[in-house]
């Protein structure tokens, strides 16, 4: 399949013809950063001074490369389809080669980033735990009460990680382990493997 590029994107990409290979690969890097972390106006300002091109022109160019990469990644375009997508713009082979290399090198990373665009779902990051034994409190002396203190760290996209401080007792921990383990095993059952294999 081919990605349909609209006119602005075509114009932006065709302006790559007049740029050197070094600068093009620099733009590719900025576009990849853009996908991962969002736009960075300072970078555009710096580049605009260096190259003597207006900052908004650079921004729009990076936007177009970003669009190209994310759409191609979205549909997992192979080499032929990627070349066909760029064919109407009539770029030189050298420029296409740079774009293609940058696309294939980073496709996996881009997909991982795109996957994280869930609506409002925190993803598991890390878990730290500590085993304490409570031996006294204000209302009760000489007792033994084992408590697990858990620090669950979750993250939503590129936001700051969120820390949840939780605690549990050995029995509940065992229950938690068993339940989550059965969740892991569920994916290996015959029926579920069949479903996963047949959804294309």
């Amino acid at each position: 399949m081919i990605i349909e590029l609209d006119n602005t994107h075509k114009q932006d990409l065709s302006s790559l013809r007049s740029l050197s290979a070094e600068i093009i690969s620099e733009f590719c890097k900025i576009a990849l950063e853009f996908i991962k972390k969002g736009s960075n106006k300072k970078l555009y300002m710096g580049a605009s001074q260096k190259l003597n091109i207006a900052a908004d022109k650079i921004e729009s160019l990076v936007d177009s490369i970003t669009y190209l990469f994310s759409e191609c990644t979205r549909f997992m375009l192979n080499e032929n389809d990627f070349n066909d997508t760029l064919a109407p713009i009539k770029l030189s082979d050298e420029v296409i080669e740079i774009l293609r290399e940058s696309y294939f090198d980073n496709r996996k990373d881009i997909r991982n980033t795109l996957q994280e665009f869930y609506p409002h779902l925190d993803h598991y990051q890390n878990l730290e735990w500590r085993l304490d034994t409570q031996i006294a409190n204000r209302s009760l002396g000489s007792s033994i009460n084992p408590i697990y203190l858990l620090k669950l760290i979750t993250k939503c996209g590129s936001d700051n990680p969120i820390e949840h401080l939780l605690q549990t007792d050995p029995n509940n921990l065992k229950h938690l382990c068993n339940e989550l383990e059965s969740a892991l095993n569920e994916i290996r059952t015959y029926e579920n493997r069949l479903i996963i294999r047949n959804i294309k």
Binding site: L114, S139, H164, C177, L180, I199
Partner: protein, 195 residues
């Protein structure tokens, strides 16, 4: 055991069989234990016809004194014979001491359990719920087909105040989580073998 004079005076009032007859005595003791276990409330103290004959101030003093006595003795896990001795010192009749001792025998474990959780703590995980989804595609990516686990931890902050922690995990992330939790769980077995 350190008890203030007010408390000791309150316990002594319990020995006054003229002021507090047997049915009132039994009602006070019963209410004290059940209030601590949160099965009754303090207003139940006055829900008894026999009680109306007793001076309200004396009744309240006795009630609060005995509550303190139960809490303090259970805090240091005072044994049965020491409790009987102390009550005897304050002139309670043996039938009344027996009555109180029976209550202590019956509720000792329950009260200590109650006291151990009467405290502040972090949200306590009491249950977990999970769901396995196959993430097929979204507006940003197609042809994905990776499993995604949605995990919902039920927590309890105070009694009957529930909270939840919700997060998603990929297969690798969940494996990492389970590995760490198993490790934590084994740690307590290792510690108990060593000691």
């Amino acid at each position: 055991m350190n008890l203030s004079e007010d408390v000791l005076k309150g316990i002594e009032t319990l020995s006054d069989e003229k002021l507090i007859n047997d049915s009132v005595f039994k009602h006070i003791i019963d209410t004290c234990f059940l209030v601590i276990l949160k099965k009754k409330t303090e207003s139940d103290l006055f829900d008894n016809k026999a009680v109306s004959s007793v001076d309200t101030i004396a009744l309240k003093q006795t009630f609060s004194a005995f509550i303190v006595f139960i809490l303090e003795s259970m805090k240091i896990n005072y044994d049965q014979s020491s409790i009987s001795d102390l009550l005897e010192e304050h002139k309670l009749s043996s039938s009344r001491i027996d009555f109180i001792s029976n209550y202590f025998k019956e509720y000792r474990v329950a009260i200590r359990k109650h006291l151990s959780v009467t405290n502040f703590h972090f949200p306590h995980i009491i249950d977990v719920n999970w769901r396995l989804d196959l993430f097929m595609k979204s507006n940003a990516v197609e042809k994905l087909n990776t499993p995604v686990y949605l995990i919902n931890l039920t927590t309890e902050q105070e009694e009957n105040v529930k909270g939840k922690v919700q997060f998603a995990a990929t297969l690798d992330q969940l494996q990492d989580l389970v590995f760490k939790l198993r490790d934590a769980q084994k740690q307590i077995e290792r510690s108990s073998i060593k000691s």
